[in-house]
């Protein structure tokens, strides 16, 4: 019955081995610094990916045109994590071992980021996160090889609680995606709100699967307890779908919705976006008034005939910080670069920023404003009256971070 199977196995193994080495024999040149980008290319993260890639490409092109870093050119290798942590972790491993990437660039989804951060720790390769931002990455899951140039969920949740606490609303309903990002964000919002406005009541929290785009069964539940305001922790395509579907349910007539109104989301929602909603962005090009931003926006627009979304700006800033660290360490090896990360100063498009040593979090705040039509952009709304909530006002104190990091196993 088992006739011949061993021989099949044996032949197979030999075939596999020979194939494996034919394929992987391509050696990489040492005058190149390889950057492995674990991206969420498809699904609700797709528009973000395009912006991130544009920002990274632009940076790499500029640096390489100027002769590279420490005489080495930069090279980007991209893999699709499909918003799945296991795929992301496997891709990160493959990028480090098989593609020989010395540095990693993080994805969009926080769940993937958490998994990838573990791989970065295991192989001791520096990774930066420019979009994924669960606060847990810097606290209970902190590891020294990562740094973050995007405001984390704590800064966002507490920042928006700060902004909204000045509004008269007393009854909130919350809705968010049922994974790390949503949980971290809504928890920070709830805690900070309770501290600043003890009279505010959180009526209900509705959890929706990440990626779910049909809100028909969730919106009636959200409205059932008659909230005066809604805080939504969605992002990207999911937020856009939520806004579009919420409108005919009369959500905006009943309660204003606050959320992450970044450029890509505003573009995707177009004129379906209601005016007068208080929201925030992570790096709105139209509201950040620094000379370097002006230069960047001009170049970006010339190159892509498009405006840079928050994701392009933050990916670009991450690259600035990384190359700054490489220069300071005078080495393109993760083991050396990691030593200079804590306290590193870099000149971001958002202004001078530094990386806090305790949690490797850059002092980046959120930009809160109110949605409005704009004469320059006819196809979509932007935010007006934008004010920065500086990170220092709302990020966790060093003691709090220490306490959380100690919980880590």
């Amino acid at each position: 019955m088992e006739h011949g199977k061993w021989r099949v196995l044996l032949t197979l193994l030999l075939v596999i081995l020979s194939c494996a080495f034919l394929v992987s024999s391509s050696a990489s040149a040492s005058d190149v610094i390889k950057l492995g980008f674990i991206a969420d290319v498809s699904g609700i993260g797709a528009p973000f990916y395009k912006s991130q890639k544009a920002g990274l490409d632009m940076f790499i092109e500029e640096i390489n045109a100027a002769g590279g870093i420490l005489g080495k050119k930069l090279e980007l290798v991209v893999r699709d994590a499909q918003l799945k942590p296991d795929v992301g972790a496997n891709m990160a491993r493959e990028l480090i071992l098989s593609e020989k990437c010395e540095f990693l660039i993080g994805p969009t989804s926080s769940a993937v980021a958490l998994a990838v951060s573990k791989v970065s720790k295991e192989f001791k390769k520096v990774i930066f996160f420019h979009t994924s931002n669960a606060e847990a990455i810097t606290t209970t899951n902190f590891q020294p090889y990562m740094f973050q140039v995007v405001p984390n969920t704590g800064i966002e949740g507490r920042g928006m609680a700060l902004v909204l606490s000045k509004k008269p609303y007393k009854k909130y309903s919350l809705i968010g995606p049922d994974y790390a990002y949503g949980h971290d964000q809504l928890e920070s919002f709830t805690k900070e709100m309770a501290k600043r406005r003890p009279d505010v009541q959180i009526l209900d929290t509705v959890w929706v699967k990440l990626g779910e785009s049909n809100f028909s069964t969730f919106i009636p539940t959200l409205l059932a307890k008659k909230p005066e305001a809604i805080y939504a922790a969605f992002w990207g395509g999911q937020l856009s779908a939520f806004i579009k579907q919420a409108k005919p349910y009369g959500v905006f007539k009943q309660a204003p919705v606050s959320s992450l109104y970044d450029l890509d989301m505003l573009r995707a929602t177009g004129l379906d976006m209601p005016e007068g909603l208080t929201g925030y962005a992570r790096a709105p090009f139209y509201a950040i008034d620094t000379p370097q931003m002006k230069v960047f926006v001009k170049k970006y627009h010339e190159k892509f005939k498009d405006w840079p979304a928050d994701w392009a700006i933050m990916a670009y800033d991450g690259m600035t910080a990384l190359t700054e660290a490489i220069k300071e360490a005078k080495s393109a090896e993760s083991e050396q670069v990691v030593k200079v990360l804590g306290g590193l100063k870099f000149n971001s498009l958002r202004g001078e920023r530094y990386i806090r040593p305790i949690d490797h979090m850059a002092n980046v705040g959120i930009y809160a404003g109110v949605t409005a039509k704009s004469p320059e952009h006819k196809q979509f709304l932007i935010m007006k009256d934008v004010k920065e909530v500086p990170a220092e006002e709302v990020w966790l104190s060093v003691e709090e971070v220490k306490k959380l990091q100690a919980e880590q196993k």
């Binding site: 019955m1 006739h3 011949g4 061993w6 196995l9 197979l12 394929v23 491993r93 049922d178």
Partner: protein, 322 residues
Amino acid sequence: MDHMTSSSRTQWISGITLIVILFVLPVFLNEFGRTGEYWIWVSTEMIIMALFAMSLNLILGFGGMVSFGHAAFFGVGAYTVALLTKKADLPLFLALAAAPFTAAITAAIVGWFCVRLLGLYFAILTLAFGQLLYMIVFQWYTFTGGDDGILGIPRPEILGPTNFYWFCLVLFLICFFVMKMIVSSSFGLSIKTIRENMERAKFIGINVRRYQLLNFIIAGAFAGLAGGMLAELNRFAQPDFLHWSKSAEPILASLVGGMYSLAGPAIGSTVLIFLKIFLQQIHPSMVELWAIVLGAAILVVVLFAPSGLVGLYQNIYKKFQS
């Protein structure tokens, strides 16, 4: 079969050679630095998935029952290891030993309901239970971490990539020989009799349901062990491990490798994983086409070679002999 003795001798020789090669493989791979480490990792995954495929085949090939919920036991094993090591601080070896038990208990409960149904209804009920368990793991945020899964499963210092490979290989070989014993025992023969002719099995006094349930539990236990090993290899567990599309993987592996032999599914699984990585290594964008390639391959097998690679080999071998 007049050439039985000579063929069984060659079989032994090739078997032992294979095992020896598998054991020295990482030593050889380690010569290739990071690339070698990557292939050690891939080989470990292949071993684990081969075990998973073989475990399913106890029900599928030998029992003749199509289960679309087998990933549930795989996932239960993975979460057992994840939860015990992360939350209860148990050492890995104990957690890994517990995985087949929790999986077997789950399989006993699920199986008790499922084996009462036949054919298509059995398949659908396993799918329903599998999805039910998947949803429970997905929604139980405080216990299982929901969509995020459980990250950072600790790994003992001594289990580096190479040692972990050997560890998995030893476990695999033990499981392989245990399964071989089960299949050729009187229990295994009864299971095959039930597959071939249930009425006859009943007639000769086999308690069909009890045997099928027992077989279902054994298969679940092996799947749980495989799940635990994968959780330890990846160092995390996530709800996707229980999803029905994960249940399809070992079925496809069994189909490709051939489901009427013990090693067939293992071969099929290895070939599939290798093909996928091979495609990716040729060019990353080729991964986009992986599902199309896989789907086309399955179509071909279903339509033209339903007995799989091993069957194909046997056919060619027979023709060659005569």
